[in-house]
């Protein structure tokens, strides 16, 4: 129960950390696998990610270590979580570790998840996935 409120997802890519880093930090690339937004690898940079039906989510960059670590506050008014991307060379490719932490049932989205108020998270996520798949 130690890591409550934290999600950790890993993936191996055959591309180099430099390539993966670009895909995580350049808006034109980020828009193609996640969402549009004026993201930039610069500490203190404030930006918005357009999460489709869920709305534009304000973010703020907290840590930048090129090709190693990218960390930002995500969706402060609704979810108030922190997303961390860690990159490590693995063979000739990259091990990417995503940590999404700070989930709190007292946040507005958490409250909705808890009370089962519509639309709940899975519904919203399905919608986002649909939008992104188009």
């Amino acid at each position: 129960m130690k890591d409550l409120g934290t999600i950790r997802v890993e993936h191996h890519y055959s591309q180099s950390p430099a390539r993966v880093w670009r895909a995580l930090t350049e808006p034109s690339l980020v828009a193609r696998w996640w969402a549009p937004g004026d993201i930039r690898a610069e500490v203190g940079h404030r930006f918005e990610m357009d999460m489709g039906p869920w709305g534009k989510q304000p973010c703020e960059v907290l840590t930048v270590e090129p090709e190693r670590l990218f960390r930002y506050r995500f969706a402060e008014p609704t979810l108030n979580t922190i997303i961390t991307w860690e990159l490590a060379l693995e063979g000739t490719g990259t091990r990417l570790i995503l940590t999404h932490e700070g989930f709190d049932l007292d946040s507005p989205l958490g409250q909705r998840a808890f009370t089962g108020m519509k639309p709940g998270w899975p519904g919203i996520l399905a919608k986002i996935a649909t939008v992104l798949d188009e």
Partner: protein, 100 residues
């Protein structure tokens, strides 16, 4: 709710309540804590809706309510699934860029 669960004594209390309802006094004996300390932990758990109180005569029994935990797990699982899919999309993007 995560704050309620962050405390190791509160987690132990929940584990203990899994076996069945308990009186506050029994819990205090079990954890070698004063009654006020145990009451305080129980109040935190009650506010987080993880525990409910049942008066029986002059005693109060505490029950575990597992529903919020299941709800949280469902909520987090939805996010985990969402990210798995995004990381898959990222793979596709990188492969597309390779073939350019």
């Amino acid at each position: 709710m995560f704050a309620a669960l962050a405390n190791p004594i509160r987690r132990e209390i929940l584990t203990h309540l899994r076996r069945g309802p308990r009186k506050a006094g029994d819990l205090a004996g079990r954890f070698d804590l004063g009654r006020p300390a145990v009451s305080e932990h129980l109040q935190v758990l009650r506010k987080a809706r993880l525990v409910r109180e049942e008066p029986r005569g002059r005693e109060r029994y505490y029950h575990l309510d597992p529903r919020p935990l299941a709800q949280v797990e469902k909520w987090l699982a939805a996010f985990a699934r969402y990210w798995q899919e995004r990381l898959g999309d990222l793979q596709q993007l990188l492969d597309e860029e390779d073939s350019k």
